[in-house]
Structure formats: structure tokens, C-alpha cells
């Protein structure tokens, strides 16, 4: 079906006619726009987040906004991609075991709850493009696991995190570590 490869091939969404502005000022403007977007989406949800509110919160003009992004959706996707990148950067790579990886992920989530809310909760409600992004990000993680059962477990853990972030009343997710680890490591042997 080539589904995963299609998603991965679609990785950079840079179809803009002109390149975005460069330089330190532009970078800081872009970061400020993404910070504001992250915060607004986490608080109000993607559908209720407007460009007007974003530029106001970021302290930039709407002209500046359009120098960086063609529209709201493109900005949302950029904010989501940045969030996922930073979550992934917080997680250690190969030689580390499942428990260390999960611990680092949960810690990163609790350190930036708004970012986590954007990435795990609101991304699924923000329209088809953002949702496709969310699916692609999960696929990228699951793609490192060979079998579809591993993919199911990744989907299941993401589901659990979403439920906790959305309904948990801000209590954080680090308390889930033992449960998540046992799900990944299968602690109940046949003689259990």
C-alpha cells in the first residue's frame, strides 16, 4: 500500500513560491509566531485560533506573518513540526532502553505542557492537514519498529497520553511511566 513511504516522502511542506526571509531577526520573528501559535492552540484549540490573535500575541505585524507563512494552516503545521522535533530531540537514541526513552519523553512533555497539548491533543482536531502531520509523526516513530504490533503499541501509548493530557486536569504524565514501561516490556509472562 506504500502508505508510510508516501507520508514520509511528503515530509517537507515547502511549496512556497519565494523563500522565507532569512537572518537573525527573521528567525526570532518566526520563533515568536510559533510560540504564540503553540500557546493559542493549546488554550483555545486550532479552529478558534486566528491569524489576528497570533500576530497580536507574537508582537509582529500581519505583513510579517505572511512573509513567513502563506496561511494559518501552514503556520499550524510549522508549530506542530517544531514541537515534535523538540520532543524527539529530548529522547535519547539507540543504546538506551525503553524505560529511559519513555522517561525522557514523559519528562519533556511535562516540562512543556502546552507544546504537548498541541502535539498530542489539538493536532487531531486542527483539520486534515494537521491531522495528516500527526499521523505521519506517529508513523515515523512506529516505522522504527518493524512489526505492526509495535505500531499498534505506539498508537496505543499516544492514545493514552492524549487522554491523560486532555482529561487529566494538568496533573502531568510522568506518573504513567511504570505502566507504559510494562506495556512495552511485557511484564506478565505465561506463568504470571
Amino acid at each position: 500500500m506504500q502508505y508510510l513511504s508516501q507520508r514520509l516522502a511528503a515530509e517537507p511542506a515547502r511549496t512556497r513560491e519565494s523563500d522565507p526571509p532569512r537572518g537573525a531577526l527573521a528567525t526570532s520573528q518566526r520563533e515568536r509566531i510559533l510560540d504564540a501559535t503553540e500557546e493559542l492552540i493549546a488554550e483555545k484549540g486550532a479552529p478558534a485560533t486566528t491569524i489576528e490573535a497570533i500576530v497580536k500575541a507574537a508582537g509582529v505585524s500581519s505583513v510579517t506573518f505572511y512573509e513567513h507563512f502563506r496561511n494559518k494552516e501552514e503556520c499550524f503545521v510549522a508549530a506542530f513540526d517544531r514541537g515534535v522535533e523538540e520532543l524527539r530531540a529530548a529522547v535519547p537514541g539507540q543504546p538506551h532502553g525503553a524505560e529511559q526513552v519513555l522517561a525522557a519523553l514523559l519528562e519533556a512533555i511535562d516540562a512543556e505542557p502546552l507544546r504537548a497539548r498541541l502535539c498530542f491533543v489539538e493536532a487531531q482536531k486542527g483539520g486534515p492537514e494537521l491531522r495528516a502531520r500527526y499521523d505521519a509523526a506517529l508513523d515515523a516513530v512506529a516505522g522504527e519498529l518493524s512489526d505492526s504490533l509495535g505500531q499498534a503499541i505506539v498508537g496505543g501509548l499516544a492514545w493514552l497520553l492524549r487522554e491523560r493530557l486532555e482529561l487529566g486536569g494538568g496533573e502531568g504524565v510522568q506518573g504513567l511511566l511504570p505502566r507504559m514501561t510494562e506495556i512495552v516490556l511485557d511484564p506478565y509472562p505465561a506463568d504470571g
Binding site: M1, Y3, G45, P47, Q124, K125, G127, P128, R131, D135, L138, S148, L149, Q151, A152, I153, V154, G155, G156, L157, A158, W159, L160, E163, L176, R179, I183, D186, Y188, P189, A190, G192
Partner: protein, 220 residues
């Protein structure tokens, strides 16, 4: 006759105008069912957020005025269709498991019933499993309840005492929904049945251990 009624309900044919001799209750059911069918079609095509009452009535070939005789709005109509589908899906799962057979067999039969019911209709499967989260609010809450109830149909009577059943159920249903949604997006409703061994293994592993679960899931 059954076929004619189904075509009517599916909105494929319309009632003849004027005095058609059909009892009033049938007309009412027919219109309501056509609207329910319309919301499923519209949501599968446009997604929940982009679905409007106009798109629902267009798909149902029923006037907007009639829509408001049955439903308060889009959410109300969505929830009514959701109830009907959910009752059908859960009913199919419950009917599939023979209480006399061993629990792992029951799990297999019920998950097979779930995949069977969803594989028959792509639009219904999307409506039931992938759109509610995008909708949020009351619909997402209803969806959570539905997933929880599905998980309960395949839960053993007694599990390890130290197990957090709520967390297990969430991971299980999240995994089931993820695998199914992946196939639906690829337009592979007809091949949903191929997922059965994975789903069975996922459901059994917490209770039997992974090796035993794999063995049971891949046998037969």
C-alpha cells in the same frame, strides 16, 4: 420488499410524492434514517468539521426544513447516527463470542466481528472510528465511552490484581483504532480482516504474556 426498504433508507430512491399509501410511521422512519445515512456520507466525504447541515440534507435528498423536524443541529444528528452504529457494532461483537468457549477464542471471535462489521462499509468505519476525535466536545466524549465499552467486551473476567485495567484498555483501543484507521486511510476497508492476528495478540498479550499471545493469535 426488504430490498426496497433498504434502498429507501439509503436514499437511493425517493418516496413517490402525494398519497403513497405508506403509513405515517414508515415515512417518519424513512426520513430520519435517510438523514442519518446522509450525515454518515457527508462526514466520510468532508470530515466532521467541514460537514454542514446543507451537505447532510443534500446527501439525504431531504429538505433543510425536514431536517429540523428531527434534529436540533449537526451534532445532534451525528450523535443519533453514532448511537445506531455503536449499538450495531457492539451488538455484533457480543453476539459473536460464545460464552462457553475459552476466553482467548471469544476475543478472537469478537475482534473478527468488529473487523467484519467495519470492513463492509468504509464510510461507516470512518464515521465510527476516525472522525469523532476531530469533532471534539460531546461527540469525542461519546466516542470515548463507546471505545471503553468495546474494550470491555474483550476483557477477561479476572486479570492480574496489580494491573491498571483503565490504562490497559486505553492502550488496547488506541492500538486497535490506530491499526484500523491506517488501513481506512489507505482505502483498504476490504482487507481489514487481515489485521485480526495483530489485534488478537494485542488484546491477549497483557494477560497471557507475549509469547503465548502470539502463539494463540497466529494459530488456526
Amino acid at each position: 420488499m426488504a430490498e426496497a426498504a433498504r434502498d429507501l433508507a439509503a436514499g437511493k430512491v425517493r418516496l413517490p410524492p402525494g398519497r403513497h399509501g405508506l403509513p405515517r410511521t414508515f415515512v417518519v422512519e424513512n426520513q430520519r434514517e435517510r438523514l442519518l445515512n446522509g450525515v454518515v456520507e457527508a462526514v466520510a466525504e468532508h470530515g466532521y468539521n467541514a460537514t454542514t447541515i446543507g451537505k447532510i440534507t443534500e446527501a439525504a435528498k431531504i429538505s433543510r426544513r425536514t431536517f429540523y423536524e428531527y434534529f436540533k443541529g449537526k451534532e445532534d444528528c451525528f450523535l443519533a447516527a453514532y448511537e445506531m452504529i455503536d449499538a450495531h457494532v457492539r451488538g455484533s461483537m457480543l453476539a459473536a463470542g460464545d460464552p462457553a468457549e475459552p476466553w482467548p477464542e471469544q476475543v478472537r471471535d469478537r475482534l473478527a466481528a468488529l473487523l467484519d462489521v467495519l470492513s463492509r462499509d468504509l464510510a461507516i468505519a470512518r464515521f465510527y472510528l476516525t472522525e469523532p476525535l476531530a469533532a471534539g466536545g460531546e461527540i469525542a466524549a461519546r466516542y470515548r465511552d463507546a471505545m471503553q465499552l468495546l474494550a470491555e467486551t474483550i476483557r477477561p473476567a479476572a486479570g492480574p490484581a496489580e494491573m491498571d485495567v483503565e490504562v490497559r484498555d486505553q492502550v488496547l483501543m488506541g492500538g486497535v483504532a490506530t491499526l484500523i484507521a491506517r488501513r481506512l486511510k489507505a482505502g483498504e476497508a476490504a482487507q481489514l480482516n487481515e489485521l485480526l492476528p495483530d489485534l488478537v495478540e494485542l488484546a491477549l498479550a497483557p494477560y497471557l504474556g507475549r509469547d503465548e499471545a502470539r502463539h494463540v493469535a497466529r494459530s488456526r
